[in-house]
């Protein structure tokens, strides 16, 4: 018996057990504290294996043998390719064939492209640039993925970003070449994260950099609605930066100096901590400057000053792409696997200086000049109505609405029941009929059993193609048939067209027409 308990515990901790309810209640805390792999493959293991494979050409001898010469660059290419191959072997040992990695990337490309075509990343009709949604989708699909350098120029770039052994935790996108680079160090992190789902947001985020835009750029118009939504609803959120600026200012410097003196005076080996504190002291000075620029950018200068705006908009747009892709992926998973998939994927938002930051306890917000703080990004992800639906989150805990780039919106129906009926299928049937009667041809209708007393169905309006208007329909395409939740909550959720079906204990669902609702709020 104890053997089985041990195995169970090992599996639980090895895979990082995550509860959907925890994700709904405290997303950042749940995601960022989820345990990592219980038996990670270390960098040192990979380096040792590479040395065995390459023998005299191994890392230990390459640079001392060749010194500073061009031959080192050639050897470097071979070394990184070897490291990549070894990592693929480790994936296979963990039951993940190398073909699965490529298939995962291709499936993410497909999802990002589909979202672009569906208008989830804005409409080309609102863009003054020449690129249509289809053209951007084509660009995404044709993006190349680089795991190791193939020529000398790439080797230099690779070294700068991935490091001498390729094991820096790094992924990036090069717009000029339409190439996404996933350093072997990033793949090592995926391996140790327990599965390929951890790639979902990162890969989609990087690919979306291929279609993002900043203020002043032709394509920015397609994202104006989204960026304005962020600006209008979250300026106060970023006003917290004031607090952080204060924290990073003189008092923080004094604390860091005190900490430094303590470390230097303390017995034992604290050299690594000293390096970290030194880095923080340097960063703190830079961050005060960056944060001031960030606050100005978000609250005032978003569109007027391209220079100021060269900060968050690209990253927020890429986060949007990551979230939309994740939503589509979550749809394909059974409910019990969604929490883990979301947690693994969103873990990348947590940042990895967390331990170093804890050393001094700056506070929860860490915001550089381009990336929003992690709590903001995770909360925004969890504000997505489709994410909440798929995760079975009952009500919105995180502040603020979800901001979408799409002109069309997600339509969500919430069905409540009394007792004793198969709610999900009936709600799905009812909503399907309702959409049909409103003149739509729905596809990809997704219903989730929710908490057992309430079921929610969602459909993106781009998946509800207008058909011939039903005779006598007075909805003019409006699909609302009532509201099940308070108007305030609907507003917060950003669901413009709620539909609700009140199901009796037995029998057919009965819809309330807009004029029949108690609140009278129909859209």
């Amino acid at each position: 018996m104890s053997f089985f308990i041990s195995i169970t515990l090992l599996l639980m901790f090895g895979t990082g057990h995550v509860m959907a309810s925890d994700l709904c209640e405290e997303p950042a805390k749940t995601i960022c504290s989820a345990p990592k792999s219980s038996a990670p493959v270390t960098e040192e293991t990979i380096r040792d294996e590479a040395s065995k494979v390459l023998g005299a050409k191994g890392l230990k001898t390459i640079y001392s043998k060749h010194g500073v010469s061009r031959s080192a660059v050639k050897e470097y290419k071979e070394y990184v390719k070897t490291v990549y191959t070894l990592l693929l072997d480790h994936f296979e040992k963990n039951g993940i064939p190398r073909s699965a990695i490529q298939a995962k990337i291709e499936s993410i490309k497909e999802r990002v492209a589909t979202d672009l075509i569906a208008g989830k990343m804005g409409s080309s009709a609102h863009s003054s640039g020449p690129k249509s949604n289809q053209a951007l989708a084509k660009r995404t699909k044709s993006a190349k993925v680089s795991f190791f350098p193939t020529n000398e120029a790439e080797a230099e770039s690779f070294f700068e970003d991935c490091g001498v052994d390729g094991l820096t935790f790094q992924a990036y996108y090069a717009d000029d070449r339409n190439v996404m680079t996933l350093c072997p160090g990033y793949l090592l992190n995926v391996l140790n994260s327990g599965g390929l789902d951890s790639m979902e947001i990162v890969v989609a985020h990087e690919l979306t950099h291929g279609v993002d835009a900043g203020p002043g750029e032709p394509q920015f118009a397609r994202y104006e609605k989204f960026v304005s939504c962020i600006q209008n609803n979250y300026a106060n959120n970023f006003e917290k930066i004031d607090h952080v600026i204060e924290e990073l200012g003189d008092p923080a410097q004094a604390r860091l100096e005190k900490k430094m003196n303590e470390l230097k005076a303390a017995p034992g080996d604290h050299a690594l901590e000293i390096v970290q504190v030194e880095l923080m002291m340097k960063n703190a000075k830079g961050q005060v400057k960056d944060l001031k620029a960030t606050r100005q950018y978000l609250s005032k200068k978003l569109r007027r000053s391209p220079q100021e705006a060269e900060t968050h908009s690209w990253e927020l747009i890429s986060d949007l792409g990551g979230t939309e892709s994740l939503v589509e992926h979550l749809r394909t998973l059974p409910k019990e696997k969604r929490a883990m998939a979301l947690s693994q994927s969103a873990r990348m938002f947590c940042g990895d200086n967390a331990d170093a930051i804890k050393l001094i306890k700056y506070g929860p917000l860490k915001d550089d000049s381009s990336h929003p703080p992690r709590e903001f990004r995770i909360n925004l992800l969890m504000n997505n109505p489709e994410v909440r639906l798929l995760m079975g989150c009952k009500k919105l805990e995180a502040p603020g609405p979800w901001c979408a780039a799409s002109e069309s919106n997600v339509m969500t129906a919430r069905c409540t029941r009394e007792t004793g009926i198969e709610l999900a299928s009936q709600c799905e049937d009812a909503l399907y009929k309702r959409l049909r009667s409103a003149g739509c041809q729905p596809r990809d209708l997704s219903c989730d059993p929710g908490n057992g007393t309430e079921v929610a169905c969602s459909i993106h309006s781009s998946n509800c193609k207008p058909a011939s208007r039903a005779p006598g329909s007075s909805d003019s395409g409006t699909l609302s048939c009532g509201v099940a939740t308070p108007a305030e909550e609907l507003k917060v959720l950003g669901i413009p067209l709620p539909a609700v079906c009140i199901l009796p204990e037995k029998g057919e669902p009965k819809f309330k027409r807009p004029q029949e609702t108690d609140s009278g709020n129909t859209s």
């Binding site: 230990k60 500073v68 160090g185």
Partner: protein
């Protein structure tokens, strides 16, 4: 070298280890990373700290690796080899310290040696100079990560 700060009982050891008496020498490579738009920082550092002189009165040099994503590693380094390495690194990087650098580089380096300090980034506006710099940094980082064995 701060030989004047070392007491007479050190003289014997200094005699046999003439390059030992470091004063907080260090070479540090810092690489900013942005995975999925999330920042991380890797620090690779060789430090020879004056306050880490062991009871046998031999200075200690250590290599630290802080890769925020995964691991940190500490390795002790032969002090004479470290001195030689730092000197060569200083010679290699000296031509690249200064302002002829592009600001967007994710790679930064810092070197403190014999009371002198050099600092710079992993790129240059001059392509030829950049290539030379990167090869120097590859040599330095390769030895830090892979070891000093000849």
């Amino acid at each position: 070298m701060k030989l004047h700060k070392i007491s007479m009982k050190w003289a014997f050891f200094v005699f046999f280890l003439p390059t030992v008496a470091f004063t907080d020498s260090e070479i540090r490579l810092t690489r900013e990373s942005s995975v999925g738009g999330v920042d991380s920082t890797q620090i690779l550092s060789l430090r020879c700290a004056e306050n880490e002189i062991k009871s046998n009165q031999q200075a200690v040099c250590k290599i630290y690796r802080f890769n925020g994503a995964s691991t940190e590693k500490v390795r002790e380094v032969n002090v004479v080899e470290a001195d030689e390495f730092l000197k060569k690194s200083f010679d290699l990087l000296s031509p690249f310290a200064g302002s002829d650098q592009e600001s967007h580089s994710r790679l930064h380096w810092l070197l403190s040696f014999q009371g002198k300090k050099l600092e710079g980034m992993g790129t240059s506006k001059d392509p030829a100079k950049k290539q030379e710099l990167l090869q120097s940094l590859m040599w330095i980082e390769g030895r830090l990560v892979g070891g000093f064995e000849k």
